[in-house]
């Protein structure tokens, strides 16, 4: 089988909804600017790209139609590049990577752009036109459960206190701020031009001023007597991310910089009401398929949808803190749903190289009760 590698990673700054600097940017423009920059940065010949696979959790409105194909045009890429928009909610752009990897191994192309985008300012979570199946809702309401409630369920199930959640979140904020201050995020960020002529090149969700005392003052966000607050949840975010996925042979033949090789992939499903535990089964599957154990993994990008959710996963998957989300996670950086999978996979690949390690895991939970995981290994 062909080896598949990540040969490039880029993302937009991640900024908070409505008041953030990217709220005025259309998601198709946002994705196109990132994709265009990635193609340029990676040095790939655009004519060789088979397909643009684009993840988006709420593909309607400005994110509607076949967004991926439209982004091809907006990014001024060759008309020969196909486009497919995929939706696995928060796992959408990691799914895009998995689809590309599968296609490459099926000899169905050598190079793919796997991207993701979400403007949660411009297309609300849930979309504009949520129309649940009424009988399914009556008989199995958890199919439509709100994400915050699932985090509360995990906090209860795993006895995760509010203080633990706040401590985890503070840590995420601290790591992200340190990384930002040290310029460790700069390489991956593509400056975005806004309609008003601004150039946005810095993440906007970070709250470095956060303190345990201030966090303790916040009211619960989802349950009146719950423990999950705005500070211990990932913020609603605008952003896009993209990775270049290609066969290792193609990368070698064209002198592309390889970040990491894809070792294994997996998806899994769980009860919708505890969707946040999804990474556990997905990771275990992926580890099995890679022939590895958790202790073999050096770098982990676990998406922080909620602190309670992340802590629940960590109870099942004991990951050493020094391996986890080295530059901070979604609680600090933000979680533009469709873009996150590409961000954490691209980030994990970059970290393997930066930290000179062997194996990395990128995994995330998915609304509706799913998990997705990708295991990467270093390339010499």
């Amino acid at each position: 089988m062909k080896n598949v590698v990540i040969a490039g990673y880029a993302r937009s700054p991640f900024t908070p909804v409505h008041k953030g600097a990217l709220a005025g940017v259309r998601p198709d423009d946002l994705a196109a600017q990132v994709v265009k920059a990635l193609v340029h940065k990676s040095g790939i010949n655009p004519d060789d790209i088979e397909d643009l696979i684009l993840g988006c959790a709420f593909p309607e409105g400005e994110q509607g139609l076949n967004l991926a194909r439209l982004v091809v045009h907006l990014a001024q890429l060759p008309v020969s590049i196909a486009g497919a928009t995929v939706n696995r909610f928060c796992g959408s752009s990691m799914q895009a990577i998995h689809m590309a990897a599968g296609a490459i191994q099926m000899n169905a192309g050598d190079a793919f752009i796997c991207a993701g985008v979400e403007s949660m300012s411009r297309v609300p979570m849930g979309g504009f036109n949520m129309l649940p199946h009424p009988e399914l809702y009556r008989n199995y309401p958890q199919a439509y459960i709100g994400m915050g409630e699932t985090a509360e369920n995990l906090a209860l199930k795993y006895h995760i206190s509010r203080t633990e959640q706040e401590s985890f979140s503070l840590d995420s904020q601290r790591k992200a701020y340190t990384a930002q201050q040290r310029g460790l995020l700069s390489d991956e960020i593509i400056p975005i031009a806004t309609p008003s002529g601004e150039r946005i090149d810095r993440d906007g969700c970070l709250r470095p001023e956060s303190t345990a005392e201030a966090m303790a003052e916040l009211k619960p966000a989802f349950l009146a007597n719950g423990s999950v607050t705005a500070a211990t949840s990932s913020p609603l975010t605008d952003g896009a991310a993209a990775v270049l996925v290609c066969s290792e042979a193609y990368a070698d033949a064209h002198g592309l910089a390889k970040l990491a090789r894809i070792k294994s992939i997996a998806v899994s499903a769980c009860l919708p009401e505890i969707m946040g535990i999804g990474p556990v089964a997905a990771t275990q599957k992926a580890l099995r398929r890679a022939g590895l154990s958790l202790t073999d993994i050096d770098i982990v990008e676990l998406n922080e949808a909620f602190a309670a959710q992340s802590l629940a996963v960590l109870k099942e998957l004991p990951i050493a803190p020094e391996k986890l989300n080295l530059d901070g996670g979604a609680i600090a950086l933000g979680h533009p749903l469709g873009a996150t999978g590409a961000r954490i996979t691209g980030k994990a690949a970059s970290l393997l190289k930066r930290e000179n390690k062997q194996f990395a895991l990128a995994t995330q939970c998915i609304g509706g009760g799913q998990g997705i995981a990708t295991i990467l290994e270093a390339v010499s």
Binding site: G61, N129, L131, P132, H133, Y144, E149, P220, F222, L223
Partner: protein, 770 residues
């Protein structure tokens, strides 16, 4: 000259709030203050003031977006901007030297035709303009706004004889039409009109209350009998700040002659002094004569004991069996109890003092009455109150007490009279003069003097307001809606059809309508009399529908509260001419119901047709659900437009006195080629939309933002707004939605939660969250 750009210098509470109100009128304002010491941001004071305005309670802006019209600046860097200003308002500290120095700068930078005014409340015009050239005096005057400027309708103007007459006309017209103010020309005397009388009243009420050992609740309750707002004296002091009083009294002491009665009582009582030094300066401090203390899970109202200077639990004091009728009031004032004697002393003193101030403070009694009505929210001005009590009776009481009788009252003749349907006021020489209304002002109270109504019953009347337009007036308690109002609407439709061109719905009560009279519903609900409930709902639906499809234009002209059924009637009008202070909403969920007189139908129609909404079948339903489900009430007419209670074609009138004339003009404009609207059709998704709305409501419930019964009501509301058992491929009619409204109400009235809400609201006036 047109006033299109304004500058306010001084970004304190008054300056900033004045600037905000100009922004409410759509006028861009430069708001300037000094450069703060030790700040890198040279505009920090003005910027801070704008930030505070956005959080002010009551709201300074009619819409937060109005803040964009304010540009912060400072007087060192930005004086050059004043060349663009048509009007510069000075609102800096009450220090003559500082003001005069500023005027020197203004004279140098402003255009020769720029109007300059001071918002001083204490300094005389003669002092402010001392040593200023005549050219400056011709364009300088005092414009004294009352706090808060958005809500208080009085604007006192003090101008010297040499002030440019054309400019005076410009400013009064602008303040009247654009700012909604009632302009009153005052003489250049201390405190002008309203604060001179108001301070006398406050001070005598405070001193007498202490001397007579009465409680603050008793005193405030007694005052409210005479048309003074419920805040009374002590609540008002808490509102404006107790710490202002020593400054005001000192200023009067300094500027009034020693034999002036106000000068004689302008002393700070020890109690007030102690409260101020202790930080008890009113609502802005740790409390005032009243304060709210947080108790175990609830808030407790406490009141100051005027003798001990300590707080005690507040008492609910009500004066029973005394109406606002003159006989009742006269009996109350001549009673022998301490509270009767107190009230007589305070009011007779205030009226006596006021009667002696004509023509010292103003040219005529009308100016004084207007100032007290608009500046202190008194229902009657002092001279109107004298007429209400009877001048003859009042003089008789003074004589009996061997008190002097002011010259104005010596003849004991009425101060106002109606002659040939014309309202006239009396001068000191006992001559009557017609009371002139401004051009463009039409008051129903004037119309009523001309003759009887076309139709009338206990709750509503129909008046001919000329030019083929009639005015439907509600006059039930709080203008609630009942079968009488509805019946008169139906009769009015027939009357207009037979000889008129259009209908305006308007009244001069404080509130347009607070909705359906709940006392009609409760007995039927207790008895589970479904037929009666059904007939009440159907009567409202049919009446409003008849209004909507009547073959003539109908214009709603609301002011104040327009809630529930009061909002629904507006939604059925062809056009709305709203007063800027319109607080409207469909608040039925608060009493355990959903809008049943076509409110769901009409708001859904408006959001369905709104071009700026997101596409698809859900957004307009979700928006309507949010507005009705959360019982959103607009905090202004501008906000009502955002909620689509007003449409883009509806207009806003800033001055309440102009509302009827504007509404009439609107109706006349619609007469030519009038065609009733086409009935709406609705494409609704049915059960799947209902599930989506239920999910949203459930999440609010889980987060503690909705109660258990809110959830039940929202389920019924979702049923209506989603079209019940329909499918997206079917089109529903207006009648289909009306049927769903009725069905939802009949379901809700069977539940104890609805009855509990209704009974609680009737008992307390507040909603129950069960």
């Amino acid at each position: 000259m047109n006033i299109e750009k304004v500058a306010v210098i001084g970004a304190g509470v008054m300056g900033a709030s004045i600037a905000a109100h100009f922004a409410n009128a759509g006028i861009p304002v430069d708001l300037l203050d000094v450069v703060p010491k030790q700040s890198v941001n040279r505009n920090a004071i003005a910027e801070g003031a704008i930030a505070k305005l956005l959080k002010a309670e009551p709201q300074a802006f009619m819409h937060p977006n109005n803040a964009r019209l304010l540009t912060p600046g400072n007087i060192e860097d930005d004086l050059g901007k004043l060349t663009q200003a048509d009007w510069v308002i000075e609102a800096v500290v009450e220090n003559p030297a500082i003001k005069q120095a500023l005027y020197q700068q203004l004279a140098a930078v402003c255009r020769p035709d720029t109007l300059v005014s001071s918002n001083t409340s204490t300094l005389p015009l003669s002092l402010l303009t001392r040593n200023q050239p005549d050219s400056f005096k011709r364009r300088f005057l005092i414009t004294h706004f009352f706090n808060p400027p958005r809500y208080m309708r009085l604007l006192e103007l003090v101008a010297q004889p040499e002030f440019d007459a054309g400019l005076l006309n410009t400013i009064t017209t602008f303040a009247d039409i654009k700012l909604g103010k009632g302009c009153v020309l005052c003489n250049d005397t201390p405190g002008f009109i309203a604060n001179r009388i108001g301070t006398f009243w406050i001070q005598s009420a405070l001193l007498e209350a202490i001397a007579m050992n009465l409680t603050v609740e008793q005193c405030d309750a007694a005052m409210s009998l005479f048309g003074i707002p419920k805040t009374g004296v002590f609540g008002l002091l808490d509102l404006v700040g107790l710490d202002l009083m020593p400054h005001i009294l000192a200023s009067f002491k300094q500027t009034l002659p020693p034999d002036d009665h106000l000068s004689a009582i302008a002393v700070v009582p020890p109690l007030l002094h102690n409260m101020i030094t202790g930080g008890y300066t009113g609502r802005k401090g740790q409390g005032g004569f009243y304060r709210l203390q947080s108790g175990a899970g609830h808030t407790v109202k406490e009141a100051m004991d005027l003798q001990s200077g300590e707080y005690r639990p507040g008492e609910k004091f009500q004066i029973k069996d005394v109406s606002h009728q003159p006989d009742d009031l006269r009996t109350f004032l001549t009673g022998s109890d301490a509270l009767n004697r107190y009230t007589w002393r305070v009011l007779s003193g205030t009226l006596h003092y006021t009667a002696g101030l004509i023509p010292e403070i103003a040219a005529d009694i009308v100016a004084v009455d207007t100032a007290m009505r608009l500046g202190y929210n008194w229902r009657y001005g002092p001279f109107e109150l004298l007429d209400h009590l009877g001048v003859d009776w009042f003089v008789e009481q003074l004589t009996r007490e061997q008190r002097s009788v002011p010259g104005l009252l010596a003849t004991r003749h009425d101060l106002y009279r109606v002659d040939k349907a014309e309202l006239q006021f009396r001068d000191k020489s006992d001559r009557y003069h017609p009371l002139q209304r401004q051009e463009g002002v039409l008051l129903l109270s004037d119309v009523k003097r001309r003759g009887p109504p076309l139709l009338e019953n206990a709750s509503a009347s129909l008046w001919d307001i000329g030019d083929g337009i009639v005015c439907l007036e509600f006059h039930s308690k709080m203008n609630t809606l009942d079968p009488d109002n509805l019946g008169l609407i139906q009769q009015s439709i027939e009357t207009v059809k037979q000889g008129y061109k259009g209908l305006v719905i308007y009244n001069e009560g404080e509130h347009f309508s607070t909705g359906v009279n709940l006392t009609l519903l409760v007995p039927a609900i207790i008895q589970q009399d479904r037929e009666t409930i059904k007939s009440i709902v159907r009567l409202g639906q049919q009446t409003y529908r008849a209004l909507k499809y009547a073959p003539f234009p109908v214009v709603g002209a609301p002011s104040g509260l327009a809630l529930g059924g009061g909002c629904e009637i507006l939604l059925h009008c062809d056009a709305i001419q709203a007063h800027a202070e319109l607080y409207t909403g469909l608040v039925e969920v608060g009493v355990g119901l959903v809008p049943g007189w076509g409110g769901c139908k009409e708001l859904l129609r408006r959001w369905q047709a709104f071009p700026k909404r997101p596409g698809g079948p859900m957004p307009f339903i979700a928006k309507t659900f949010e507005i009705i489900g959360l019982a959103k009430v607009s905090q202004s007419a501008q906000e009502a437009r955002e909620l689509l209670f007003l449409s883009k074609n509806d207009d806003i009138t800033m001055n309440k006195n102009r509302l009827l004339a504007d509404a009439k003009a609107r109706a006349l404009a619609l007469v030519a080629d009038y065609q009733p609207p086409e009935p709406a059709v609705y494409a609704l998704p049915g059960a799947s939309a209902q599930a989506a709305l239920e999910i949203a409501a459930r999440n609010l419930f889980l987060a503690g933002k909705a109660s258990a019964y809110d959830l039940e009501i929202s389920r019924q509301l979702a049923q209506v707004l989603s079209g019940g058992g329909t499918d997206i491929t079917r089109l529903l009619t207006e009648q289909d939605i009306l049927d769903l409204e009725l069905e939802a109400i009949l379901t809700l009235v069977q539940q104890p939660g609805t009855l509990a809400r209704l009974e609680h609201t009737l008992k307390t006036g507040k909603p129950l969250r069960n």
